[in-house]
Subunit: 621 residues, 2 copies
């Protein structure tokens, strides 16, 4: 079974992923970007992750604890206790979904009352007569009185009122954004009310299209942030902005056109007209937010490192060049500090750490690693220079977790098993593949405690030939491990894990781990006090906990305490789109979360250095 | 003395007018557009109109009642009791000014606290340090906290914050419009805070430039409304808008460019940069307001005659194309009904009829004649189709009251005395000249009760030759009276008063007088109940009461009850610019003033017909 790849399709989305045989449905769903609820972290003890297998062979152990024999016979199983044995079709019920359930369904979770900023209403006004010569606007305002008193209106929108009222026999659809009329449409179009939420990452931009009337998610689309060509981290982008004429403008236009591309894709895929998208919400790190708003990020990178904007801000989509309804708005979420942004606010908002009695720890691994630890009393956040390694950047054959990315590596005595996303020919290495390959090479004695990749001649004689022969000394990259051999004709290159890749990973995992240690020290807590560790971010979604613990990226605490919360930043952006009162809550989080500058602390350098080591391989000693 | 013209210069403005000898200073000041306070209406009994003669011969009778002998010796006199005998320079103290005093001076009139919407403040913020990494905007908001809590800011303005703060060593000038930061300027520019108020008349547009810090008026400029080439009254403009492609757009662009021309002129004359003008307020009739805002006026002219907008509205100067500060705003005053606009609201606001215990009557004679009657309990307004006769339109040789306009006509037995504005060669006939010439021709038996201009052969034999020979039968205009003979060589045409001009005037004065009768009837009051009649509008300013009563434009009530209040519509626009709380008051006036549609009343036609007659000339019977 192991070594063979199977296609798993999730319903009702119809989304498919290819995984190695033996993978759990829980794990596979994570790869598909669908976050199943599992309070226990996927160890079979909470009973949250019930799914229905529609087709396919599988092996399940432990569903009996929560399901009747009959239910199991019909295909209901715990996703975390069920392993794939063939191509499979699985339905994930709404009750088993984490954010989908919280965000996209009204009423199931009490705390998210659907209350978007934008409301559409079909309004009939009284027809004018000689006895009732109220102006068109007075007529409309009077009709709207039960909903909003004395709404504002721009001249531009008002200009459409007389014709649109008369075309519809004195009925028209009114678009309200808070207390402002931002649209007047002919006839009854109150059902066409859409918004989009964006997580603007340094490397990846994700957009979600939502129905503001139902809260339903209609589509999701992702793109590589096109600013990447100007530098792969925030500092290099700021540098570019400051040292090039029109640098800021270029970066701004790139990200805006990326959002527009995503909007186009979402609109095309769903058949929705862009003019019916009335609001977008955005979140991202502070630099990304500055660049999106075309605010000069210069002083973020200059002592004493202050931004132009910490708070949230409303803007007109038009003035930013975002192509939605011409009177549409943009809401940019508040930031915490210069290097902990709105994305972290969104993670806190979505994961509700700020409401927790117990201490919790969240890691949002993107191009930087933002860490948050605390509870309802106190929240501390910091940013680690984790680098974009886990997003594939700065890794020799790195790539984003998309089709062709090596996402899983298993080294057995006589075999090296590799799985790629989409089950297509390998094109590179994504974050999980990177962790897997390093973990496997440590376990097999090829990478030592210091992160050095041993040359062939330095290896223990017990290392099997099948592994040994993959180690080469590359002209350009030095000592490297061949993950996928190229063609003999050299028309296709080897796909390698290089010494440099290991160093990048060490820096990243060391920074995150050191941050964890320091946050604990500040709060005076130990591993045992931490209720759970929440892994957010596109990458966190795919991570394999045991491997991550093995290389020292995650602390060695019980795996059931380590939970995947998916793109929680995106979830936060969706929440403030769907529930306006959460904007106030986001602002409170933004103000009340303490920011810690790790590099400014005396203890940091030592903790960081200590955190860079790998475990020792004892297998061949 | 009579017949000779003298130059009267008013200080501190330095404004001059040319008047016939024997004219009172009170009358001359009105021609200069300076409204002197005179509660008694200029009959020497209130003592308000004290002025100081700096140079010139004059004859005064009656100042003793309010001034000491010594004061009179020094040149202090009552303006209404003093007649010009030579070129004269007169200073009008601020206490003797009507609107200037009320509007332009803080504290003298308690009810007008200077409280413009726009405030400028030089703000020093704390310099950032590693210990204080607040964002630039947080820093600014904290510094502004004593003035405004949590001000809004647009992204565009925010973009300037970091550089402007640092250029000024963490000090900058903040421009606040209510709770929004609309500007951030380097250094301390808090003294440069300007606004402009506009009265957009159908025929004439007047703009005032004001210092928002002091309330002082810095300049005034007027232009003919360039929409006039598309029709001289509101109905023809609406017709043009509806029957021409781009008609509305053309009208809109014309009026906006007129405002921009006036702004340029005001800026040039005062040396003020337009970027320091942050707000304009506008008033006008409902159609003018629609056209300025580019709101379709179509339904104003179609049964049942409703407008798009009655209420006030805020707009961005930018979106209307008005060239002031790029983040400047436009406040358009509220209207009363489809044919009684914001200009009437402004007249009421400025004249305070809405606060009066007694019944008052205001006439705003522009292209239409808007009439308001009432007191604090009840206010009724109507519009009369007075036509633009008094503004010179539809009059054969009509012109606006500017240099070269015949403004006064006196017919003595052996002489015809004519005065023109600016004491230059006559170019045409303005409203006062029109009234004067008709009144004089009635008195001399040339125009009869029905408004017919008699032919030479129809005249009484007692009519002196000097008058008789001025009557001609013109090829094109029919029976006409030569006011100014042309040159013998015919290189210059005669300036005539024609039969058609008399008919236009009859219609105009008949409509106004009929409106007065009907308003009285609705309120159940008589002439005796009317405390005063307020003449507003550029024309009202110049009117000679006895002549206006003689031709039946004004009711035959004591002249002291007839008061000039100048361009009260402009005054109202200035008031809402300088005192934001008056915007609420204007809205209350707009809602509470009842609109009467004269033409819809059964009694109107008869009253109107009766009002068109002239008095009978008994001189030559």
């Amino acid at each position: 079974m192991a070594g063979k790849r199977f296609k798993v399709t999730f319903e009702p989305e119809g989304k498919s992923v290819y995984v190695l045989g033996g993978t759990t449905i829980y794990e596979a769903s994570g790869e598909a970007g669908i976050i199943i609820k599992a309070e226990c972290g996927g160890i079979g003890v909470c009973g949250n992750c019930i799914v229905n297998i529609i087709r396919g062979d599988y092996e399940q152990k432990g569903s009996e604890r929560f399901l009747t024999e009959e239910e199991i016979k019909k295909g209901s199983v715990l996703a975390c206790r069920t392993r794939i044995k063939s191509d499979t079709v699985v339905e994930i019920p709404i009750l088993s979904r984490l954010f989908d359930q919280k965000i996209l369904t009204e009423g199931i979770e009490k705390e998210l009352r659907l209350s978007p900023n934008v409301q559409k209403l079909f309004i009939k006004v009284e027809e004018p007569t000689l006895e009732d010569q109220r102006s068109d606007l007075d007529r409309l305002r009077d009709a709207l009185k039960p909903i909003v008193s004395d709404p504002r209106i721009s001249v531009d929108v008002l200009r459409r009122l007389p014709e649109n009222l008369r075309k519809g026999n004195y009925g028209a659809t009114i678009v309200l954004n808070e207390d402002e009329i931002i649209g007047i449409e002919t006839g009854n179009k109150s059902d066409k009310n859409y918004g989009a939420a964006f997580d603007i990452g340094t490397t990846t931009v994700v957009g979600y299209l939502l129905d503001l009337n139902t809260g339903k998610q209609l589509g999701v689309a992702a793109r590589t942030n096109p600013q990447t060509s100007f530098g792969d981290d925030v500092i290099s982008r700021i540098h570019y902005a400051n040292t090039n004429t029109d640098g800021l403008n270029n970066l701004h236009e790139r990200i805006v056109s990326c959002l527009n591309d995503i909007i186009n894709e979402l609109a095309d895929n769903t058949g929705i007209e862009k003019k019916f998208i009335y609001e977008i919400t955005t979140t991202g790190n502070t630099t990304m937010n500055h660049l999106f708003l075309k605010l000069n990020p210069k002083y973020l990178a200059l002592h004493p490192y202050v931004g132009v904007l910490r708070s949230d801000i409303d803007a007109f989509a038009r003035e930013l060049g975002v192509h939605i309804n011409q009177h549409g708005k943009v809401y940019s979420m508040p930031n915490i500090a210069s290097f902990v942004g709105g994305d972290t606010v969104a993670v806190i908002l979505a994961s509700e750490i700020h409401k927790s009695d117990k201490f919790r720890f969240a890691i949002d691994i993107g191009t930087n690693g933002e860490l948050v630890m605390g509870n309802r009393e106190r929240l501390i956040a910091c940013s680690t220079a984790a680098g974009p390694a886990f997003e594939g950047a700065r890794i020799t054959f790195g790539m984003r977790a998309s089709d062709g990315a090596i996402e899983k590596v298993l080294i057995n005595k006589n075999d090296i098993e590799i799985n790629t996303i989409g089950n297509v020919k390998a094109a590179g290495l994504c974050g999980t593949g990177l962790i897997d390959s390093i973990a496997e090479l440590i376990k097999n004695g090829i990478i030592n405690k210091n992160g050095k990749m041993l040359k062939k001649e330095e290896l223990s004689s017990h290392v099997p030939d099948i592994i040994r022969e993959r180690i080469i000394s590359h002209d350009r990259y030095g000592t490297s491990f061949i993950l996928i051999p190229g063609s003999d004709s050299k028309t296709q290159e080897d796909i390698l894990l290089t010494q440099k890749d290991v160093r990048e990973t060490q820096l990243a995992k060391g920074a995150i781990y050191a941050g964890y240690q320091i946050l604990k020290a500040i709060l005076g807590v130990t591993d045992e006090d931490i209720e759970d560790i929440l892994l957010a971010g596109a990458f966190g979604n795919y991570i394999r906990r045991e491997q991550a613990k093995w290389i020292g990226l995650l602390p060695d605490i019980p795996s059931e305490k380590i939970k995947f919360i998916g793109n929680a930043a995106g979830a936060g952006a969706k929440m403030v789109l769907l529930a306006k009162e959460l904007r106030k809550e986001a602002c409170d989080i933004s103000i009340n979360t303490e920011y810690i500058e790790l590099a400014a602390r005396n203890d940091f350098q030592k903790v960081f250095t200590d955190s860079m080591f790998f475990p020792e391989c004892l297998a061949y000693k």
